[in-house]
Amino acid sequence: MKKLHHYMMILLAGVLGACSSMSVDDVYGDSFPAGFSNQEYMDIHPELRMMQVRDYVAEYNDQLKKDVGTEAFNAQKTADEAVLFANLTAVQQIYLDKFYCGGSAAVWDSAMQEYPIVQAQNAILAQDPNDKDAKAAKAACKNWNKVVDYVSAVNFVGVADDLTALQNIPVDYLAISQQYQMFGRTHGWAYRACRADEAANQDRRTMPIDSLQRSGVADPADFITDTNLYCRDAAGVDRVILQ
């Protein structure tokens, strides 16, 4: 009897073992809304990817700085940026890419008009780095400066072909999808494109939750969670998904 009990336990354990799935690939799968796709969510919110790229580049540059020392790094950075910003085709490609800088064509066009001014001021500053007028004139070229800000944030120091390097940065899809779980969903972020039959659904901006969340709260405990799901239509309007 004792033996039988023993064997039964082994059998039971075997059955339990056989039936349980050992797969842990999709542990978060169930908690996402139907039709959620990492790629689609990233396409709708490219700034999430942009931040990833910026952090990746910053980390690379930090390590380089540690390896070669601050002084050598600064010298290399100045030289590297001089080469990069002379290559306007590459700068344009990087700036207009929604995953790298997310720049608009309008800003780019204005920056191109400012570009000759910047070059002229640079020539003066090369003679006298302290020329006050030249500095002020350069600072006034706001659009170009914006382009420089965005593009230098994703510039690998010491890498000649930045565009290829940027394309080779691996995408951390887990960080993208978890952003939806931890923040996007409760704040009413759209997670997919709207289907044709959803084109007339209510615009989030007209819903009370929008103003409630927009006004903000002093205490995190008072935060009101958005329980709806949203899609984004072709015009960029977030609409509620009927459930």
Binding site: E47, M51, D55, E59, A175, Q178, F183
Partner: protein
């Protein structure tokens, strides 16, 4: 009354045991003095059986002046060193019963040279033990300080053997050893617990023994005390066990010894990025077999037999060091770009330094020796003859059997002298003072602690690196004149780990323990035969002879060349020694001892450094008149390095020079009077002359040359010793 009778019976048995033990200890020396001493010990152990607390010890008041002269001393160098001291060793023994004993030994040392630096003296306790023979004498135990010996391949202490060593030398050597709690036996000094069981007769078996030993070993970073506070925080332990049985004159035994570093204490401290901590583990397992004909053939005038041992060792080392690792985590982060807030998940990557453990060395080795002996007594002639075969793998390592107590290479007398050029300083830093000085002299000081003798570290959290002095150093000088005890002594009870032994090239410079077997019978990579004869005719005439021929297969001369390329050769050792002693007093029919002794020994090797060591010893121990004895000794030791000398690189990195010491000649002459003032009180007056000459070739700044460094020390000492 019954009670008293029992005690005296115990006293007698222990006296006999004691004398047997000391006879074993002095087996090598076979000196008359040792025999006298053992008689004293017999009397002493009779006293020892008295219950209760007893205090005895020795008190010694003396002075020693050493006058050194050398052409190589700088003009400003001090040449005289004085010691004037009173040294009292107190031995407190407490016997709660006749079975157990508590033994505490204290040392009080007053240096009159520094008497005004400090007005109170600390008492140093240097021996604490609780020993006994319990359970109807079946179990012996030691707790605390103890001396334990298993077999020559497991737990053993290789000792220097100088045939017919005159008493004036032997006494000096014993004294130097005693300062380190050491003695001339082959047992090893430990601190821990030792329990031995003896069954006595069990059927046909004469005796069954079982023994367990546990000890904490000192895990030293440095083997020679350069400063007083020389310690390592890591723990090293020893576990030993053995069982054996005796029947029909045969002995069968199994021994196991495990010495290992504990990791947790080391890992509880931070180490720097550049540090590496090594953890060493040495396991030795051996079986021994012996036979003595005495039991089966008791009627023969001689006995014969053999003993042998086969041992296997496993030596492993692993190490800890810091490596950089990558650790990433997700962080919900909010950032403002261009006025727009973006909330995203950021990957935060850190590169923390983590301790990494790596297997470093792993070696298994075997060793075997077999020894045949014949001993006996035929018409007043006691003799003992032995012949042995030894074979040990190069990968064999038995730490507890290998570490000799003699280290040498330090400067004992006139240690404050300095030299006229960096070359001589570098030579003395490697060769040290003569080996005769290290063998026979020691200095024990009680000195005020100060900046030069306190070891400090800048970063107290980090115990290994950082050689910088501590910010607290000068604050510590406000210690209100605490005294510390300092040794200048060529002996140590510490064991040497294999990695340390491998790195210690300088060990080869002073082969005073043995040229062919520096680590005793357990010396790795040896194969060959040894023979010895000892004879004693009626305590009138003594003879000893030794011969050995051993081969080392993988002698690496390359380690001396500094290029990191091994130069492996076969190295053949040839050693022989003989000694003769005669008590002329007895021969001449006088009622006093006039012992004349002498010995000659030579050891050489065919490869490696091509060393040749020659020792000539002569001595006289004579009772002249009444309480006055004359003691004299002469010893000459010459070491030749035939392969162009021992190459060294000295100086600084910018101004390096090379030198090759090719010959070292030493001589020690000692003569003295010993006057017995009263029972157990002696006055001793001694004169000694030590000469040491090192011949070397050098190359300084591209200019080659040859020169010599010679030092002569005249030592005068006088002391009164009272044993109580």
């Amino acid at each position: 009354m019954m009670f008293n009778k029992k005690i005296s019976a115990f006293g007698l048995t222990s006296a006999i045991l004691f004398s047997a033990a000391s006879a074993f200890a002095a087996e090598n020396q076979a000196e008359v003095v040792t025999q006298q001493k053992s008689l004293l010990e017999k009397l002493d152990s009779l006293n020892a059986a008295v219950l209760g607390l007893k205090i005895n010890g020795t008190a010694k008041a003396g002075a020693l002046a050493s006058f050194a002269s050398s052409d190589q001393y700088a003009n400003e160098s001090p040449t005289q060193e004085n010691q004037a001291f009173t040294d009292v060793n107190l031995r407190l023994t407490a016997r709660p019963s006749s079975e157990t004993m508590i033994d505490v030994q204290l040392r009080l040392h007053k240096d009159w040279q520094s008497a005004y630096d400090e007005n109170n003296n600390p008492i140093i306790g240097h021996w604490f033990s609780y020993d006994g023979t319990i359970l109807n004498k079946h179990v012996d135990f030691n707790l605390g300080y103890m001396r334990v010996g298993y077999t020559p391949l497991t737990i053993y202490t290789p000792q220097t053997e100088i045939l017919q060593e005159p008493e004036i030398f032997a006494e000096k050597r014993r004294e130097a050893l005693a300062q380190r709690n050491l003695d001339t036996t082959s047992r090893r000094l430990f601190q821990g617990l030792n329990v031995a069981y003896q069954s006595g007769n069990v059927g046909p078996v004469d005796n069954i023994t079982a023994q367990l030993t546990g000890a904490r070993l000192r895990n030293t970073a440095k083997k020679l005390d350069q400063v007083f506070f020389d310690f390592d925080f890591a723990d090293r332990y020893l576990i030993g066990a053995r069982v054996g049985a005796d029947a029909y004159g045969a002995h069968l035994g199994v021994n196991f010894v495990n010495s290992f570093d504990r990791k947790l204490p080391s890992r509880s401290k931070k180490i720097a990025e550049t540090d590496t901590v090594y953890y060493d583990k040495d396991i030795v397992f051996s079986g021994e077999l012996g036979f003595d004909s005495k039991k089966l053939l008791p009627d023969l005038p001689f006995t014969f037999g053999f003993n042998g041992e086969f041992a296997m060792s496993k030596w492993t080392v692993d190490r800890d060091y810091m490596t950089s690792s990558v650790s990433s985590k997700y962080l919900l982060t909010s950032k403002k770009i261009d006025g727009k807030e973006i909330v995203y998940i950021q990957t935060k990557t850190d590169y923390p330094s983590v301790r990494t453990n790596q297997d470093y060395r792993d070696q298994d080795g075997k060793s075997i020796y077999a020894n045949l002996f014949v001993k006996g007594s035929v018409s007043g002639l006691d003799f003992n003859a032995e012949a042995a075969y030894l074979q040990t793998d190069s990968s064999f390592w038995s730490e507890q059997a290998s570490s000799p107590v003699y280290q040498g290479r330090s400067v004992i007398l006139n240690a404050t002298s300095f030299y006229n050029n960096p070359l001589n300083t570098a030579i003395m830093a490697t060769f040290g003072a003569s080996s005769l000085e290290n063998l026979y002299y020691n200095v024990y000081n009680s000195t005020t602690l100060q900046a030069t003798n306190l070891m400090t570290s800048e970063n107290l959290a980090n115990a290994l690196s950082n050689e910088n002095e501590s910010a607290n150093l000068f604050a510590r000088l406000d210690n209100n004149y605490k005294n510390g005890h300092f040794y200048r002594n060529g002996y140590t009870g510490n064991t040497v780990k294999k990695l340390e032994a491998e790195k210690d090239y300088l060990r080869d410079l002073d082969p005073s323990v043995s040229l062919s077997l520096p680590f005793g019978l357990a010396t790795p990579d040896r194969k060959g035969i040894m023979a010895k004869v000892d004879a004693n005719w009626d305590d009138k005439l003594f003879f000893n002879g030794r011969v050995s021929m051993l081969t080392q297969m993988y002698a690496d001369y390359g380690k001396w060349l500094g290029a990191g390329v091994p130069v492996i050769e076969e190295n053949k050792f040839t050693e022989f020694a003989f000694g003769v002693g005669a008590d002329i007093g007895i021969f001449a029919g006088l009622d006093r001892q006039i012992l004349v002794q002498g010995s000659f020994s030579q050891a050489s090797e065919s490869a490696y450094l091509k060393r040749q060591a020659t020792r000539i010893v002569a001595g006289l121990t004579a009772d002249i008149w009444g309480p006055i004895s004359l003691l004299a000794g002469f010893q000459q030791y010459k070491l030749v390095f035939d392969r162009g000398g021992v190459p060294f690189v000295g100086g600084t990195e910018e101004a390096a020079f090379t030198f090759n010491v090719n010959e070292s000649s030493e001589r020690l002459i000692m003569a003295g009077l010993r006057v017995k003032l009263a029972t157990m009180s002696y006055l001793s007056l001694q004169y000694g002359m030590l000469t040491n000459e090192l011949k070397y070739a050098y190359n300084v700044a591209g200019v080659p040359g040859a020169d010599k460094l010679s030092i002569t020390k005249n030592i005068i000492s006088a002391d009164v010793t009272v044993n109580f």
